[in-house]
């Protein structure tokens, strides 16, 4: 590490929220990490500064052409006061993959990991310790050139902000109802589906909104070409247990490579549970359901870790999975992953990073 991160500590400390009332992504800590880019200087001036607003011209490219990328990961505080990150290198590697797709210059992954550790360490008191709580970490990059031409920006700002978050499952893990989407499309090969960029999320809002109006929590996305093959659920990867085998859609150029997805495949293999990444049609899934072989279904992502699916609404039919209850594999995966993440279980794969080591 040769680049020094400049640190300016906040003179005042904000009041910390009541952990019982914490929502996702509404409250932010005392500091943030900032680094700028210009075509002549490269990435420069990495710094930790008091959390606060940024001032931008209305012509800033960030407001016009969607050339943005982001990541999401979590820090946990253990009973013995250690602060742990879960596989942060995977997120920062993926940020550079997103950068490549969006024509944003590559960041120095080692520097950013160091920035992450220092920032989380400084705002350590903000990490809640109650069951299921954590500190959500949001690295993101926006284009900051003042220009209305359609071209990659020549200036960028990279920021990391931190938000203490309450338990995703305040009343315990529970399955959700999902609407199988047959009109809107999330992504297609050759598009930006494998990148974590704003446009993918913007395009999903309408389908999500319509599903909610029908009483469903999220949509199950099918492929954009034939609307036949399962891709993702909401903004999560998706898994199914079919006749003893756990199946997830193969990375085909339009599916995001989730860190939780990857970790689950590792865990299942370690346990000797058959697991397969392959193309899975909605028709085959329905057939398995009718034959009583669709045993479990769940989404996976940083926010929920595991989100069991109790019902799929498909072709005007309610497919109830595992009696609408959380399945055994779903529960075991949730307990094991959160156990490793919070330091309660042994870190058998060396996934956890202590911010002070």
């Amino acid at each position: 590490m040769t680049t020094k991160i400049d640190i300016t500590l906040s003179e005042t400390k904000k009041e910390k929220p009541n952990v019982d009332q914490l929502e996702f992504g509404r409250v932010f800590t005392d500091h943030m990490f900032v680094m700028d880019y210009s075509a002549t200087k490269g990435w420069y001036d990495p710094r930790i500064v008091p959390y606060g607003p940024i001032s931008l011209s209305p012509s800033t490219m960030a407001f016009h052409y969607g050339q943005t990328v982001f990541e999401g990961l979590k820090a946990y505080r253990t009973k013995d006061d250690k602060v742990l990150l879960f596989r942060p290198n995977k997120n920062i590697e993926r940020l550079n993959l997103s950068n490549d797709r969006l024509c944003i210059p590559q960041i120095d992954e080692e520097l950013v990991i160091e920035a992450l550790k220092q920032l989380v360490s400084i705002d350590k008191e903000w990490i809640p310790t109650a069951e299921g709580t954590s500190l959500y970490i949001r690295p993101f990059i926006i284009p900051t050139e003042y220009y209305l031409g359609v071209a990659p920006s020549k200036h960028y700002r990279f920021m990391i902000i931190l938000s203490p978050v309450g338990s995703y499952y305040k009343e315990g893990i529970h399955p959700v109802k999902i609407f199988v989407e047959n009109e809107y499309v999330r992504a297609v090969a050759g598009g930006t589906g494998t990148a974590k960029t704003g446009g993918n999320y913007a395009s999903s809002l309408k389908a999500q909104d319509e599903a909610e109006k029908r009483g469903y929590s999220q949509v199950l996305w099918l492929d954009g070409l034939e609307k036949k093959y399962v891709e993702e659920v909401g903004s999560m990867n998706v898994f199914f247990k079919i006749n003893g085998e756990v199946v997830t859609p193969a990375l085909n150029g339009s599916i995001l490579e989730g860190v939780t997805r990857n970790s689950i495949i590792h865990l299942l293999k370690h346990w000797g549970v058959p697991v397969s990444e392959r193309r899975l049609s909605m028709e085959d899934l329905y057939k398995a359901y009718k034959e009583g072989q669709l045993e479990e279904a769940f989404g996976t992502g940083t926010a929920a870790v595991i989100s069991p699916i109790g019902e799929l609404f498909y072709n005007e039919e309610r497919m109830v999975i595992n009696n609408g209850e959380t399945g055994d594999i779903s529960m075991k995966l949730y307990d094991t992953l959160t156990g490793i993440q919070t330091g309660a279980l042994e870190d058998i794969f060396n996934w956890v990073v202590n911010v002070n080591e």
Copy 2:
């Protein structure tokens, strides 16, 4: 009109740029229009204020999930000092179509047209008058809620900014070379291709960048499903003259409905030139080329009006169109449209709006 637009004039006037050195979208006028939205108040506080930076929290949704929309149109100053807009209602109607796709609340079209007129009128001295120059108008909406959840924002800001622009064709109208894109995809039915939203432009940057490295100005986008059918060129609609007939891809759910595109179809029909909106395969286009029937090709959009295509690079072959020169129909359309827009020709379709009437 019942809603009053509050006006605060700038105390100082910025120096106006030299018209010969004007680039696209780099210099902005003295004022801007701003209006805010909250779920409880609806759109409120429409105001014209001095042009200046806006201050936003790093957690502002605009930086994360791409829920943005925009429009682009131009104002022209005539020899007798009138200020003309070209079909502004079409742009503002389309802004509301984009809003619908992106889950952004509808704006009051009448109020926004009035805001456009007042703002352009106040900054009228900024409109250059030299041949081919104009004032570019950029209405846009960003989500302003401070929240990291993936959901439609509950707060928005609508802004209109103005930028004097030089001639698109400083050395006269001239054809460009286009690369037929066979890897990246711009949009697909069920996606956001018909909306003017940031993500469509972000996803196009990589293809554009790779085309430029090969010596081409833009890419010709094919459909996202089969990569067979012609859709758009760069960020413009596209037209071909084949054996006397002018053909443009039909609006199929992934193509933006351009105001220039619509105007051209009107003009051609008025002139009695056969014009057809239909699905057009690259294969058929190539066949017409080999048979000597591909007579002209051109892109259409607000910035260039008409951008003649002199060459298509397809399947490792250079398809040279009309000897790489601007065709007669392309030239006549350019002269007629810019003539109507600048008030030099009779406004036969009642397209032009005088901002002071």
